[in-house]
Amino acid sequence: MGEGKRLEHLEIARPLGDERGRTSGLEASHGALHLAGRDIEPHMELVKALLGSIDLETSLVDPNMRVIWANCFRPSGGREGGSASYLCELLECSPKGDGMGSPCSLCPVVTAIREAVEGGTQGKKFEAPWPPIGVPYREMRFSIRPIPFEKNGKPLISVSWQDITREKISEQRLQEANRELEDANKQLASALEKANLLAFQAEAANIAKSVFLARMSHEIRTPLNAVIGYCELLMEGKVDEEDRTHLKAIYTSAQALLSLIEDILDFSRIEAGEMRLDSVPFDPRALVKETCEMVRPRIHDKPIRLSYKVDHTVPKMLVGDPGRTRQVLLNLLGNACKFTDQGYIELRVSLKSQEDETARIIFRVRDSGIGIPSKRLSEIFEPFRQLDDSFKRAHGGTGLGLAICRQLAHLMDGKVWAKSKVGKGSTFFFEARYGLYSREREATRDSGQGDGSSGPTAEGVPSQNVERGLEILLVEDNHLNGRLASLMLERGGHRVIWVQDGWQALKVVTDRREQLDLVLMDVEMPGMDGLEVTRRIRAMGLNGIPIIAMTAHAMKEDRERCLSAGMNDYLSKPIRKDLLLEKVHRWSRRGGDVRYGN
């Protein structure tokens, strides 16, 4: 029955091939594949040679699955598929028959061979678990094609196969690995998202903290200043001795509280990484002298000799943050005053090392005070640490001063440390790294962006500008503030050009670029604000004129905004005469040594 069916297929295929006279090749006609076959027997040697040369396991079979020839061994031995061999045998699949049994109807190879014989396809490639009967234990890839030859009047089909079990396992492993990678990626993305969220929350908290600090600095300091001010006034007036004692207690407590708040603010800023150091040229000798003079009143009437010495090897000019350097020295000297009842306090400055562009400077504060037990020496630089409560009661202080010194020293790429002997005195060391001031370097840095203004004169501290008075452009839209600032500056010996908006400011800067020494710029103005005016001035190439912002905000962010717009410095509002003149004086001392944005 099966044979008859197979013959029927062959008969359909062959006459078509014969009619067209084809000797080779395949032709698809009306969607069916037709074989134009000829007898393969005379070509068998060639077929064997060809099949033997290819790597894939390949066999030629007839529609009954009978192997005509194969390039692989049968499990039972022998290379050539003889007339008794079936493809199933080569493929190690039971029932090793002609594919007609019911299990074979499920076999994809049998199906593909039938399709090829019936001309429904030019061939088929597929992968299948193998064997199709029973439990598959490997994966196979098949390629089944009709070929234009026949044997004994039966069409021939080429069947190639390859065991791809390893490949599949690798593929499967790769897929698993990919899935794991995807999972890991998802987890990473999720972690990143969480990290971003945390960073955002931290940033928000940081901003909130900055705002809180700003408010605190204003809201607490303002009433405290009022308390201190009223105390001073009352003490100046007629009060009896008892009231004076009470007033003094209030005054001292308020000062201590103010100092504590300043310390906490400084400490918080440093902890939050918000403390930015200046990088400006300064004269270390002048700084040391000035600092000692500031400390001198704290000695009161104690028999103490306060002296200072700066070694000749210390450069005449350094580049760094003189304000923060002074803060550290004031703290160390202040402590020395506090803990020394008689004898001496001396500040000595020496050069530790010098390189091409930097110098390490050591400040040493030595006193003949009460001293510190050696085992406590390292603790005193920890925040809120003092030797003990009785010590604190006797000497006051917040316990933050030295911690701030240590942090500031770190910011200056340095350190603070101490040596001491109880009853003999203490020596505190403060080491910091500063830039070396070079006129040539500064001039080079200014050239190309300058407006023709000269570099600093000898020692970089020209003072003739201040002596002759400066020409200052004041940009302030508020009439009262403008008038008041003008008055302050004029009384400080300066000449003031006051304008009330950005456009007028640009005109004055353009017209008087050669004469102007300094610009004081209100930041918040209607129309063009101070930041924009500054940007335009800098865009005009006028980089040599110092521009100082006057802003009601004094937070780091505002300062950064001012500096990045091209301003050199900033002054907090409300304006106060001493601070205004000090700032003007400070910038006037630089002559043409003006840079911004660094």
Partner: protein, 127 residues
């Protein structure tokens, strides 16, 4: 208001400070009128600008109550919050009047000797 303290910070004689305070009042009353007008027109931007102006000057002269009111007005105007502005403008007016009366009394008591003339204060550099 503690005049001595603020005078010291500003580098002014007391009489000069009083003159500055009068100048402040002149401008502030005009600003107040402008703000009332702006509120009626719903022009919050102008209102904020005028409040900002008063705030800046009040801060310099350390007039705390006026500063606080002006700051609040500026904030509300910038946020477009109309509610409460009329009341705060009225409170500001009262504070300005209180300051005016205080200065009048002070000037009367001291007999002002001006270190800087009114003409100079209101002089040519004003717009």
């Amino acid at each position: 208001m503690e005049i001595e303290e603020i005078c010291d910070a500003l580098g002014l004689e007391k009489e000069e400070f009083v003159e500055f305070a009068r100048l402040f009042l002149d401008v502030a009353f005009k600003d107040l009128a402008s703000m009332e007008d702006a509120l009626a027109k719903g022009d919050m931007r102008s209102l904020a600008e005028r409040a900002h102006s008063i705030k800046g000057a009040a801060s310099t002269l350390d007039m705390e109550e006026i500063f606080i009111l002006a700051r609040s007005l500026e904030l509300k105007a910038k946020r477009g919050e109309g509610e409460g502005i009329a009341e705060e403008l009225e409170a500001l007016r009262k504070e300005l009047i209180r300051l005016e009366n205080g200065i009048g009394e002070y000037g009367h008591e001291k007999g002002l000797k001006l270190g800087v003339s009114k003409r100079e204060l209101r002089g040519g550099k004003e717009k």
